[in-house]
Symmetry: C2
Subunit: 129 residues, 2 copies
């Protein structure tokens, strides 16, 4: 069963086990979403700006993602200056897509719940009082 | 501007500042999604099962959510035994809905990127090699 690991246990309807902690952390989710949107890779400085991270923070999260073999950081030279280009790996892409399926389920569950019990008109909802 | 705080800074397209850390943590996201789907509240034991959490873990995360005034835990008696019923507060609901809008944006960004660069047929994608 291909999707066995993202199916909830009986009774654990809202456990969302597939929300892989390596990906779910906010900064790493930013990094991976940037990289999946730029499959040819992004220079460190550009990635830092897109995710609004400091050098230290981005380095720290890239180490976690490199250890998990989800991102590759390739050191090179551009216009005579050292440059690191970050790229999502095929494994990173695969795990990100699996994670995304669970995230979509969260959005679906939450949206259905909110639609079923819309916000109050007069600022007061007896169900939430 | 109502949604000013969830709009990304110029250049920080993938920062997702609105992914409120109080909500984004996986166990708390489970708890809040369970509670927004059960606006009348859930007994502690049922919530624990739905989220697949231990007593200790659920207690710890409920404390964070109670401190943030997003969840109320009401102690009472049911069939002669003490019972705690957990319920999302109107503030919790408001913050969760704001969070959800950003989560939807992540899903949208990621889905568009994946569709624009579909997985390889033969297990090899030159763009990701």
């Amino acid at each position: 069963m291909k999707n066995a690991k993202i199916r909830p246990k009986r009774g654990s309807r809202f456990a969302y086990d597939g929300l892989d902690r390596v990906i779910h952390e906010r900064a790493r989710l930013s990094v991976l979403t940037s990289l999946i949107s730029h499959t040819k890779g992004l220079p460190f400085g550009e990635l830092k700006q897109l995710c609004d991270l400091t050098d230290g923070n981005l380095n720290r999260h890239l180490m976690v993602l490199e250890d998990a073999k989800m991102v590759a950081a390739i050191k090179g030279v551009e216009h005579g200056r050292p440059q690191t280009v970050c790229r999502i790996t095929p494994l990173g892409r695969k795990r990100y897509i699996e994670y995304l399926a669970v995230l979509e389920q969260v959005v679906l569950d939450a949206s259905s719940a909110i639609k079923a019990d819309p916000p109050p008109r007069g600022g007061h909802n007896p169900a939430n009082a």
